[in-house]
Symmetry: C2
Subunit: 147 residues, 2 copies
DNA sequence: CTTACTGCAAAATTTTTGCAACTTT
DNA sequence: AAAGTTGCAAAAATTTTGCAGTAAG
């Protein structure tokens, strides 16, 4: 199955019509895992489909979030950003550069979830736990590397 | 020292002039720890000072955040919310009701920080770690109680 | 052929900005 | 008095909405 067909199937399984626009937007998010904003998604998508409208991008992103196919990430600069990775993971926020970097650590995840299971929080069902890590780069020119 | 004088002193120590507007806004945030939005802060503050302008509320919240006297919390509904509690703590997000509840657990904090200290992340200085807990209420009418 | 989706433009919402008048130090 | 802050209104930025036309199942 081609990547496009796979994406079309993901959409259908989520109960959404596999339109050309949705396929392009979802594939853009699978390709760019740097948490693009709506406007950035629009720019990327326009290269493939120049006639797509910004309104469609907004509506589609909202649909994909509601269907659970992507995640929405709120940032302190007031922009929403979108994440094609839906498996459990955390985010490292580099304030100065507006970078959001994925951080995935299964054993830490398990450690926290085990701790929280023992913790009784009355009248609350915990759905998801992730870390919010604020950090800054030591050398701004170099990339981040997580062991 | 009166609470107002204490707040004025906090402002001055942070290098900000202790204007009547800032004192009222900061005291509102100390009083309302439910993470009010800019508009909610404005509404609260107007009761005390009906002539304050919304623009001043925005500018002041920004100044207070920059000075480290309060924190900004980004939400997925696109509103910024503000937090008068600056000690390390986590947030529980109740999506359906838009509630944000503080969650403070020193031993969990220590557990995570000890784990992360051992974890080598090249070219990154970690500044702050907190949990992002998504949850929902079991009985919507009852309050949350954290043991 | 029915239902859902797109494109467009207009509107709504939230936040920022510029500047004269005013307070704080 | 100097420096910084406020209030106002206008502008910017982001997101949502309505609806006629179009595409998908």
């Amino acid at each position: 199955m081609s990547p496009t067909d796979q994406i079309a199937q993901n959409l259908k399984e989520a109960g959404l019509k596999a339109t050309q626009q949705r396929i392009v937007i979802l594939s853009t998010l699978y390709e760019h895992l740097d948490h693009p904003s709506s406007e950035e998604v629009y720019k990327h998508v326009k290269k493939v489909n120049p006639s797509i409208s910004l309104g469609t991008v907004y509506k589609t992103l909202e649909s994909l979030v509601n269907a659970g196919l992507i995640h929405k990430v709120a940032t302190s600069d007031g922009l929403m950003r979108y994440d094609g990775e839906t498996a459990a993971h955390s985010h490292i926020y580099i304030t100065k550069t507006n970078e959001i970097i994925d951080f995935k650590d299964d054993s830490l995840n398990e450690l926290i979830n085990r701790y929280m299971d023992d913790k009784e929080i009355r009248n609350l069902k915990v759905r998801k736990i992730s870390l919010r890590i604020e950090a800054e780069k030591i050398d701004p020119k170099r990339k981040i590397h997580i062991k």
